[in-house]
Amino acid sequence: MDIVTRLKPLFARLLEIDEQSIRPDSSPANVSTWDSLQHINLILALEEEFGVMVDPEDIQRLDTFAGLCAYFEQRMS
């Protein structure tokens, strides 16, 4: 399963949005439910899903859907 397909349902469920509405540039700026607390949840859920730890520098930096996909794609390869 590719990374986008794996991430989308997780995003949709945590942020309470439609999978169809998720775009590469989805971010706290255009998704109202994506606040700083949900950001922690997203990072933790992704860590749980992929079994990796996100570096502290990246926790705040990774704030778009495409950015997170690319990050985990690279960490998993």
């Binding site: 469920r13 607390l37 922690i40 730890m53």
Partner: protein, 619 residues
């Protein structure tokens, strides 16, 4: 089964069933969040007790909340949480029209970080003298008391005050512990002041975060990455255990308490099977695995002293089991610790009803522990009021498991509590009880039992021989055979060797039944051996096995079948086996009784709840 990956399929009405049957014990972060959100948004859910909780805190706890709401729901609560701001815990308490007081609270949790209440104890400790440290501790304890008193003046809510974990890296390093008033001693003194305060103030209890942290470990339960980037001190690994720890306090606070722990014997109180391994062969003592069972018994003894009533519910021969409890040198729990000992071959649902009636307590006061999942399923199905817990697979975990049962927790202890076990033991009176085990058949059906008749092979012969060697309780003749003797019988045209495997929805119970049949000539057949491991007893397997074999004899043109019951010290459970299945006693000698069945009169009814599969002999 509800697909919990899809929020659309969450139950609208059947929340309680979903929570009891489907909700995972350890939820993923997504499931915890999604479920908690729905629980908090849904108006009063039938079957769940509403609970309004306010939390005064000083750092990010939001990711913990869904886990708490989730686990509270599994425990029967619909919890709604309100969290204070990071820095306004004092003002919201003191302000009558603050959000804290905007509605009635059942519980107020004070979960402050050390740095918020006593910054001097958390940072910059190294440069301080003793007087200054004493002043900080006194001030922090007094601030907390002011806060808690305010909370109690404003409402009737119980207050749960969290104490403080010791610091793993004190300012003075190892010297901290050597010196007279180090950083950790200061934290300890503050904790002691909080304990004294909670003991003094009614309705105020201590949440021992220090103990919790010691159990799980600071390195595992905190995440400096999250603390420094997001203000959350807790690690992801901490979320579920911490939620569960809060629930251990919540249950006694909300009056959820059970009185009586009912224990199985074989495989639970000791390792092995008394009827097969014998008094000397069961595992209990100072070496592994006996020491694991001993630790479990010690935990049981602690519960006894805490006021929990102990009882035994076991399928065993009573004289042997009692004797073992009384005389076995390694036993920690003795007969006088048990208010009720139910040891016989009846089904366990009946046992538990007797225990409740005898102790004059409700079934909803019982907690049932049994290593056998099918016994647990029986009780869950027939007596849902009883709390049936899944004992861990390994006995190593038994002791910590029983010590963690929240339903036995109490936040205050009276002298009567300490003596309760003994009182019940003394007052036990037997009362007659109408046996209403109506739906046993439903239970058997729900087990989805399958009997697989196996051909004797190189793989099964050792087990067949072993069963004839080891099986004592359900063994009609107790004829012991070696592997060579079994092989000989297989190749003898006058003999038939049957081995049976029992499967159910919990898995494969293995090869657990053996029958040896011998053609006596003139269409007469005899059971030389008929035995079942007690692992599968009490589930009508013996009836199905017998009828299956009688059908085979009919196929072989047999007209009559007979069998001996040869009594031993241990095979009492098999005593009335032939009688129960319509056999007629023909002859009694010093060896036993010979029973006979006329196959031309038809066969007893095959229980409808079995599927039977044949594995053909390849020979």
């Amino acid at each position: 089964m509800t697909d919990i990956s899809d929020p659309a399929t969450y139950p609208d009405k059947e929340w309680v069933v979903w929570l009891r049957q489907t909700a995972p014990a350890i939820p993923s972060l997504v499931i915890a969040n999604q479920t908690a959100r729905l629980l908090q948004r849904t108006a009063a859910i039938p079957g769940l007790r509403p609970l309004e909780i306010a939390v005064l805190r000083s750092s990010t706890l939001e990711p913990l909340v869904p886990y708490f709401v989730y686990q509270a729901a599994r425990a029967g609560f619909q919890a709604r949480l309100w969290l204070s701001g990071y820095a306004d815990w004092q003002t919201v308490a003191a302000t009558a029209d603050s959000m804290l007081w905007s509605q009635k609270r059942d519980l107020i949790v004070v979960a402050l970080d050390l740095v918020a209440l006593a910054p001097g104890l958390a940072h910059g400790f190294g440069g301080m003298d003793t007087d200054r440290v004493t002043a900080i501790v006194t001030r922090a304890a007094s601030d907390m008391e002011t806060l808690v008193s305010t909370l109690r003046e404003q409402s009737n809510a119980s207050v749960l005050v969290q104490n403080f974990p010791l610091t793993p890296y004190p300012a003075m390093g190892l010297y901290d512990t050597q010196s007279s008033f180090g950083q950790n001693e200061a934290i300890w003194r503050l904790n002691e002041a909080l304990r004294a305060m909670t003991a003094r103030l009614p309705g105020v209890y201590l949440f021992n975060a220090c103990l919790w942290n010691a159990r799980w470990g600071n390195d595992l339960m905190t995440d400096p990455r999250l603390e420094l980037t997001s203000g959350m001190k807790l690690s992801r690994a901490a979320l579920n255990p911490l939620a569960l720890e809060y629930l251990r306090y919540l249950k006694p606070l909300m009056g959820i308490r059970r009185k009586c722990l009912v224990l199985d014997l074989d495989g639970t109180l000791w390792g092995g099977i008394l009827g097969e391994d014998g008094y000397d062969g069961i595992q209990i003592g100072t070496t592994y695995p006996g020491n694991a069972y001993r630790a479990f018994q010690e935990a049981g003894l602690d519960l006894y002293h805490r006021g929990v009533i102990l009882a035994v519910c076991s399928k065993n021969n009573e004289p042997e089991a009692r004797d073992t409890l009384e005389r076995h040198p390694e036993m920690v729990l003795r007969p006088h610790h048990f208010a009720s000992l139910h040891i016989n071959w009846e089904d366990k649902a009946t046992h538990l009803q007797h225990i409740a009636a005898e102790l004059n307590i409700g079934l909803d006061s019982l907690v049932f522990l049994d290593d056998n999942p099918s016994e647990r399923a029986l009780i869950r199905q027939m007596l849902p009021e009883v709390l049936t817990l899944d004992l861990p697979e390994s006995p190593i975990e038994y002791a910590s498991f029983v010590r963690s049962i929240a339903e036995f927790e109490t936040l205050s202890l009276s002298d009567e509590d300490r003596q309760r076990g003994g009182m019940y033991h003394a007052q036990t009176q037997r009362e007659k009880l109408v046996r209403t085990v109506a739906s046993l058949e439903e239970y058997y059906t729900s087990l989805e039992m399958c009997l697989e008749m196996e051909a004797a092979s190189a793989f099964t012969i050792p087990r067949i021989a072993q069963l004839t060697q080891k099986t004592n309780q359900f063994n009609l003749t107790t004829h012991r055979y070696t592997e060579a003797e079994i092989e000989e019988k297989i190749s003898n045209p006058a003999w038939r060797v049957y081995a049976m495997r029992v499967l159910d929805r919990f898995g494969d119970n293995g090869l657990t039944g053996v029958a040896l049949l011998c053609d006596l000539g003139s269409a007469r057949w005899q059971f030389d051996t008929f035995l079942l491991s007690c692992r599968v007893l009490g589930r009508t397997v013996e009836t199905a096995f017998l009828i299956f074999l009688m059908e085979r004899i009919q196929e072989e043109k047999g007209l009559q079948v007979e069998g001996w019951f040869k009594p031993t010290a241990k095979n009492l459970p098999a005593q009335d086996f032939y009688h129960r299945h319509g056999f007629t006693a023909m002859q009694t000698t010093s060896q036993g009784t010979r029973w006979q069945y006329d196959l031309t009169t038809g066969l007893p009814a095959m229980p409808s709840w079995f599927r039977i599969r044949m594995q053909e002999t390849s020979a």
